[in-house]
Symmetry: C2
Subunit: 344 residues, 2 copies
């Protein structure tokens, strides 16, 4: 028993993490197609010990699939997702192309798996920074209504893909050799630097990345007027997004109750013991699934405020893991076609 699965963008950093996650979580795969752009065709990738050849992502190659996980950017999703759906394939899409469409569920399973039943073929995977944040906000809103959130992000270069990771490494080597860092894929030098701009700018002065945090959080939490302001900053970290978060509640919430609630919440690990210098850091959390929370403390500037620090692997919970969790939730809810002949 299993699903005829396609991964579109299989050779990218998220595609590779999807493959690892499907394997480690033992997702039932009846048939696997690894699709990518023309320049990756012919590459070999391994899944459960078997070797697969990467094929071109075309409408034809998306036939005979039950499920496709897309992570190849907006233009590819816009071009191919409708073809996949027309062929009866369910798509979990990691691009931002469909996330805010009213007939597309935007899902973080710990928060709103129930909306999957409304899907019409496309389910959207949220922005990486949003995914790790809403898991925490959803747990905390059980303690008191959330009035407002201020979040500053510290986002790793893997959020911009493989080339950006290679560029950070190459630029770092250049600076260590006394040379100037030369930007190529990323607009400005990123080695030993910060870039306070991710994605393009909108008319209101925010970047699209920042407004994704506001708008996607509203949709996932199903609170259309949710008040959230974000500053999104690229930092010279390879993998792992971090967030400094300030939450204003409608009533006072104690640090102890927040810590307990978060410790019991699905998908969250609390690492918060200042006396022993324990708080999550992205370098150490790369390759791990949970959303880590630390530095939980009251707010000296607000009687109903709480501050904390959130770290997650942006390729896992921010992308691949969340997509596979959505696929698992579809299976559990019998919202996905399943083949009776298994791959092995």
């Amino acid at each position: 028993m299993g699903v005829r699965l396609a991964i579109v963008g299989a050779t990218g950093v998220v595609g590779q993490a999807m493959l690892q996650t499907l394997e480690s979580r033992d997702f039932p795969v009846a048939n696997l197609k690894l699709l990518a752009s023309a320049r990756s065709v012919g590459e070999r990738m391994t899944f459960r010990g078997a070797s697969y050849t990467v094929e071109e992502a075309t409408p034809e190659n998306l036939g005979d699939c039950d499920l496709a996980l897309f992570s190849a950017g907006n233009p590819v999703s816009e071009a191919l997702v409708p073809h996949a759906v027309a062929r009866g394939c369910v798509v979990i899409d990691n691009s931002s192309a469909f996330r805010l469409k009213s007939d597309v569920p935007l899902v973080v399973p710990e928060v709103n798996a129930h909306v999957l039943s409304h899907h019409r073929g496309i389910i959207a995977n949220p922005n990486c920074s949003t995914a790790q944040l809403v898991v925490v906000l959803h747990a905390l809103r059980t303690l008191a209504p959330i009035e407002r959130v201020v979040v500053s992000t510290y986002q790793s270069v893997s959020g911009a893909g493989k080339e950006a990771m290679e560029e950070l490494l190459a630029q770092s080597a250049a600076v260590l050799a006394g040379e100037s860092p030369v930007p190529q894929h990323v607009r400005h030098p990123i080695a030993f630097n910060l870039i306070p701009a991710i994605d393009h700018f909108l008319d209101n002065g925010y970047t699209k990345e920042e407004m994704k945090l506001t708008l996607e959080t509203r949709k996932i939490l199903d609170e259309p007027a949710f008040r959230l302001t974000a500053t999104a900053v690229r930092v010279p970290v390879l993998v792992g997004h971090s967030e400094a978060v300030t939450v204003e509640f409608a009533h006072p919430v104690s640090v102890e109750s927040a810590r307990q609630t978060l410790a019991c919440a699905d998908g969250i690990v609390v690492e918060d013991d200042p006396v022993r210098h324990i708080y999550p850091r992205p370098y150490e959390k790369a390759g791990h699934d949970p959303v880590y929370v630390g530095r939980i403390r009251g707010d000296v500037s607000h009687p109903c405020g709480l501050n904390f620090w959130v770290v997650a692997d942006n390729l896992r919970k921010g992308a691949a893991l969340n997509a596979v969790q959505i696929a698992e939730a579809l299976l559990t809810r019998q919202l996905l076609r399943v083949q009776t002949s298994s791959l092995t």
Copy 2:
């Protein structure tokens, strides 16, 4: 005409920046003593083309000085500043030892140079992150009273001294060579990583660095109930501190009026043109004096909110420059003894 000057901690990153700043700003020096710990004694440093030998920082060596700039950490300041003052020397101290004492002015000249007249021998230089922030907050509060500030910092390793800078470079080289980064001076690995903890933890869950931002801002702005919450994070940047800031005003403040006010304010340079991808970044601002502000925008979560991004060289405005500016303000106000025989 000039001042008999001592620099205590002359061989540190801030001490070196003080020397450069005194030279570039043509500060009148009648006699110069470069003092440091025993292990730096005998090192040679250059000022205005002349070579000086570093001597040990002792009470005796602080005799016959009109002014001493201290930047050697709290224990040295606690031990030696009283001796210097007892010998009639005015001290501008960069440690946190005296900053919150009621009889010690804590000064950022653009904001509160007028309190210098109350000094009794010691003037405190604020925390690096505080200095760059209050310059901006002071300018903005002319537009409307500030109700609350939320700030997340992105602080370079030079704030932790020369050893931390060397450690970031060494760890970066190790990671590039496929090895593990080994922490020595800094508690956790910092290469390609973030450490959400600077200075030690206090009982309220904040770090001392974070509460410095709250308490020093209150004192410098002379607003004892000023509401500010901070998260202070060490980032793998060599020089230059950055801050994501959210300000809530008592009344709405337009982006345009904020931009104009900041552009006209002493010590501030606005670099804010998203369409042309212009916003300040720390790598490019190291070695520069101004406080740079960009990413100025309204707040989608608050009708009277404003968000922006502040970058400054923490060794300049955050330390050496501010100390020299204080010295200049003392001279202007005739609050400092001046020798009639000049150095050259």
